[in-house]
């Protein structure tokens, strides 16, 4: 595949994305909005909440005017939330909890390429054949055995049971 692969990956998803556009957003505009919002977050230099993103949208469109009710005047808050959530689900945005909601920061480009690749490589056994994964899958029996092994050894060492899952 050519080196422009990453871009193509984005385009591949567009038909699907257009199909599940939220109400109030013209179908063909969904992709444009996503890239516009990504652009806003990338140039912001700080985490933004969906509300802040919405405020900046017209500015992104016309160059100035923080509160201008321009082309995106009818864009509802929930639409912006839908789009940033979708970008988050795609791995393009990272989010942090801020009060009741979330603020969003763009993920750097290398990571985006890596995540897309990771999806692609994970899908085919042939493609992933040359990858050396840190661990292979565990059967239920193996998981039990593993816990026993580490617990057993723990009894002799009397240390901190750090291997046990923390949280979750």
């Amino acid at each position: 595949m050519p080196s422009g692969d990453g871009r193509r990956g984005v385009r591949d998803h567009e038909p699907q994305r257009a199909a599940d556009s939220p109400p109030g957003v013209p179908r063909r505009a969904a992709g444009t909005l996503e890239s516009e919002i990504l652009g806003i977050l990338r140039s912001a230099g700080e985490p933004l909440s969906p509300g802040e993103v919405r405020q900046r949208l017209p500015a992104g469109q016309h160059g100035e005017g923080q509160h201008g009710e321009g082309q995106h005047g009818e864009l509802s808050y929930s639409t912006v939330v839908t789009i940033v959530s979708r970008l988050h689900a795609k791995g393009l945005l990272a989010r942090q909890r801020a009060g009741r909601g979330f603020t969003y920061t763009p993920v750097d480009e290398a990571s985006v390429v890596a995540s897309r690749m990771s999806n692609a490589l994970g899908s085919g056994t042939d493609r992933s054949a040359v990858l050396s994964r840190f661990v292979s899958g565990l059967s239920g029996r193996d998981a039990l055995l593993l816990r026993r092994l580490l617990a057993d050894d723990q009894g002799q060492q009397d240390g901190d049971p750090g291997w046990a899952e923390k949280g979750q």
Partner: protein, 314 residues
């Protein structure tokens, strides 16, 4: 003529002994032994098939006139039935196709891996991937990359991160993927060698584990890291949520991992003393592989002698 069947029997023997060998030998030694054994045995069994097919073909009248040898002598000295010869020819064709298909798929996978690795900008060769996955792998390339999901890194403390990275660095530095690819190619030529190829995939993991243990200076730390990541990466582990450290009271000290999957075996190996080099076991295994080679060579010489005899009479 039984010699001709020896190179076909020994791969089956190798298939059975690969796993015990992988468990006992020092990982680096095991990797080299098992990889070269798959290649050598695949070569021998392919040669044996070719010889069987050649014996059968030598009976054909038009070949006899073409090669100007006596068909009578050939038939008298020929212990291979036409059916066996045909079967060998078919197996040979199948092996050639299987190797070609495998070669194509692995070459593509490697080329793709190199291309992807080149696309990735990485500090110290490490790329952190966003998203919900719990995963870590070495991506071969020039230079290769270590890809780790941010979610996994978040769950590991600094020492365990170091263990994980050291493990993956060993894969890249030792070009471990090449051992696995070569062994798979050889196993494509002879499916009896498939368990040996799988064992190579295991021994390179052990090799990297031992490297990580040497770098961090803590075998137990590496064992715990593998255990933690494996449990995190396995979906449906909530089913086992009730089984925690306190609830399991093992009755026996030793937990048998002989028939377990690779992860418990790797952990168990790290919880015991470091493996020693075992010269005798290594030598014995190499000798058996050599035997297959000698047998194939002897059989080839027999055919050659018979042909010369037939030619003299013809």
């Amino acid at each position: 003529m039984w010699l001709l069947y020896l190179p076909l029997v020994i791969p089956a023997l190798a298939g059975m002994s690969a796993r015990p060998l992988a468990a006992r030998l020092e990982p680096r030694q095991a990797t080299w032994l098992l990889t070269s054994a798959t290649v050598a045995l695949a070569g021998c069994s392919t040669a044996a098939l070719a010889l069987l097919a050649a014996y059968a073909a030598a009976r054909a009248p038009f070949l006899a006139t073409l090669g100007d040898y006596s068909q009578q002598v050939m038939r008298r000295g020929d212990p291979i039935s036409a059916a066996a010869g045909t079967a060998a020819a078919l197996a040979l064709t199948g092996a050639a196709v299987a190797v070609a298909v495998m070669l194509r798929s692995r070459a593509r996978a490697l080329a793709e891996s190199y291309r992807r690795a080149a696309e990735l900008e990485a500090d110290d060769g490490i790329v952190v991937v966003p998203g919900p996955a719990i995963e870590a792998y070495a991506l071969p390339g020039g230079p290769g990359r270590i890809v780790v999901s941010g979610r996994l890194l978040d769950r590991l403390d600094n020492r365990r991160r170091a263990a994980l990275i050291a493990h993956e660095q060993a894969h890249l530095a030792g070009r471990h993927h090449l051992f696995a690819v070569v062994a798979r190619l050889a196993a494509a030529a002879n499916p009896l060698l498939l368990p040996v190829a799988r064992s190579v995939e295991y021994t390179v993991e052990r090799w990297a584990d031992e490297h990580a243990a040497a770098v961090t200076g803590d075998r137990r730390l590496v064992a715990e890291t593998i255990g933690q990541v494996a449990l995190l990466a396995t979906p449906g582990r909530r089913r086992l949520a009730g089984i925690t450290l306190g609830i399991i009271k093992p009755r026996t000290r030793r937990v048998s991992v002989a028939w377990a999957g690779p992860v418990p075996r790797r952990v168990a190996a790290l919880l015991t003393a470091p493996p020693r080099r075992r010269i005798i076991l290594l030598g014995a295994s190499a000798a058996i592989v050599l035997l297959a080679g000698v047998a194939a060579l002897e059989a080839a010489r027999d055919l050659h002698a018979l042909l010369e005899l037939a030619q003299a009479a013809g």
